[in-house]
């Protein structure tokens, strides 16, 4: 009998597969010997490898941000840098509301998005969706998937069309 290499698959508490992606380029990490030793993405070298449930993780070329439980921006993907015209090095440790604000007319207050991010980042809530817009722009809206990612635990905010 011939043995075949298999990849290990993790599942979250909802039974969904947990996948890895780079916090900068958004791609799945390369399966090299060096990549297994380091959290740094072996493809672009500019992001750390993060993990999230497959229904939350960014698809190829989807822009995203990572926000911690204090609502500070911790990572901005290359696509999000271009889309929002921000530089990750300048954006980290700043409040997420400096860049994105809720744009849902049905939402009762701006605090809802922030409360959602805190809940997700602290593990108190499962994946949700929201509508957001860049802080300084009107008439532009993005649907956002919000779910947990890590390590360490944080909220992943994936912008979709």
């Amino acid at each position: 009998m011939r043995l075949r290499a298999v990849r290990s698959v993790d599942y979250d508490d909802r039974g969904l597969e947990v996948v890895s992606f780079c916090g900068h380029c958004g791609l799945a990490p390369a399966a090299t010997a060096q990549a297994t030793k380091s959290r740094v993405c072996g493809r672009c070298g500019l992001g750390l490898v993060l993990r999230a449930a497959s229904d939350v993780a960014p698809a190829r070329e989807e822009p995203f941000l990572v926000v911690d439980a204090t609502l500070s921006v911790c990572a901005v993907s290359a696509r999000a840098e271009a889309l929002l015209e921000i530089d990750e090095t300048a954006a980290v440790n700043k409040h997420v509301a400096d860049f994105l604000v809720p744009a849902d007319a049905n939402a009762p207050s701006a605090a809802n998005l922030l409360a959602l991010l805190v809940e997700v980042a602290s593990g108190a809530s499962g994946p949700r969706t929201a509508v957001v817009r860049p802080r300084q722009e009107f008439g532009v809206r993005f649907r956002a998937r919000v779910g947990a990612c890590g390590p360490p635990q944080a909220a992943l905010l994936v912008l979709t069309s």
């Binding site: 070298g45 750390l48 993060l50 911690d68 990572a75 090095t89 980290v92 360490p152």
Partner: protein, 292 residues
């Protein structure tokens, strides 16, 4: 330590400005253990390289806060300990440039340079730099530098910059000697004994005439030598000029510039590229003739 390729490290240096390597004589990048280990720890707990770099920078800046706190509280032992801990993570040069001098700058901004807390801190820093110079390895380069000290006294902020500059030159293997610009008596014997390859005039306190008189004395004893100015703003802009290279304000960059100036081939024209106004030897001679 980081399990990343040299290309990735270079990409981080371009994008994040960290880790910031020094260069070897052969222009190879030299990373400090402290910077790399701080980054390794931050990467394990971070969500992005940017946030890890930010955290690593914070970890390294705690030494500056500790030193400022110790000097502000007049605790010499704690100040010495802060420098010891800085040296555990960095080279002497970077400990001085990234911890000692910024801490003194902060104290100067907080209390002013005419205050007792500044005097306390400046005296401690002066003593620390002199101790470090005494512990430097013996000269290995056939290079002697004569420094003319035109600072007010050891409480002049430029005086600490000069001490650091002298320390870096000594650690680079050169023989550095500092003499006060105010004293010209017996200068010729000292200059003949040292046989300097370059002259540096440091500090802005003394007048251009005093500096030119001292430089004339040195030149009379040692002949034409490259002259560089460190933290010196010429007072009198109306007099004739001589070719003098203005060195960078930061002691480490300044010592590298000086070594390059001495090493550069004669007539390459670089020294003339940054001619600065200061009284020339011709001006001194002209004034002497007028006086006589």
């Amino acid at each position: 330590m980081l399990s990343v390729s040299p290309n990735t490290l270079r990409a981080w240096e371009r994008r994040f400005g960290y880790p910031r390597p020094q260069r070897s004589a052969g222009r190879h990048r030299l990373y400090t253990h402290g910077e790399v280990s701080a980054l390794r720890d931050a990467l394990q707990q971070g969500l992005s390289i940017s946030s890890a770099v930010s955290r690593a920078r914070e970890a390294l800046s705690t030494d500056t806060h500790t030193l400022v706190g110790a000097l502000a509280a007049f605790e010499l032992d704690r100040a010495d300990a802060a420098m010891e801990s800085a040296l555990a993570l960095r080279s002497v040069e970077r400990s001085v440039e990234e911890v000692l001098l910024p801490s003194l700058d902060e104290l100067a901004a907080r209390h002013g340079t005419d205050s007792a807390p500044w005097a306390f801190a400046a005296r401690w820093a002066d003593g620390w730099l002199r101790r470090a110079q005494r512990l430097a390895p013996p000269p290995v380069r056939p290079l002697a530098i004569l420094v003319g000290d035109a600072t007010r006294n050891d409480l002049d902020p430029d005086s600490l910059g000069l001490r650091a500059f002298e320390l870096f030159c000594t650690r680079a293997g050169a023989r550095a000697m500092t003499l006060p610009v105010a004293g010209v008596a017996g200068l010729a014997e000292v200059v003949e004994s040292l046989a300097p390859d370059a002259i540096v005039i440091a500090g802005s306190h003394l007048a251009d005439d005093d500096v030119a008189r001292w430089a004339y004395g040195v030149r009379a004893a040692a002949g034409a030598l490259p002259v560089a100015l460190f933290r010196r703003v010429p007072h009198d802009r109306q007099v004739h000029t001589m070719g003098a290279r203005m060195l960078c304000e930061e002691p480490f960059a300044a010592h590298r510039q000086l070594l390059a100036l001495v090493d550069e081939p004669a007539g390459s024209g670089h020294a003339e590229a940054t001619v600065l106004p200061m009284p020339g030897f011709e001006e001194i001679e002209r004034r002497r003739e007028v006086g006589s």
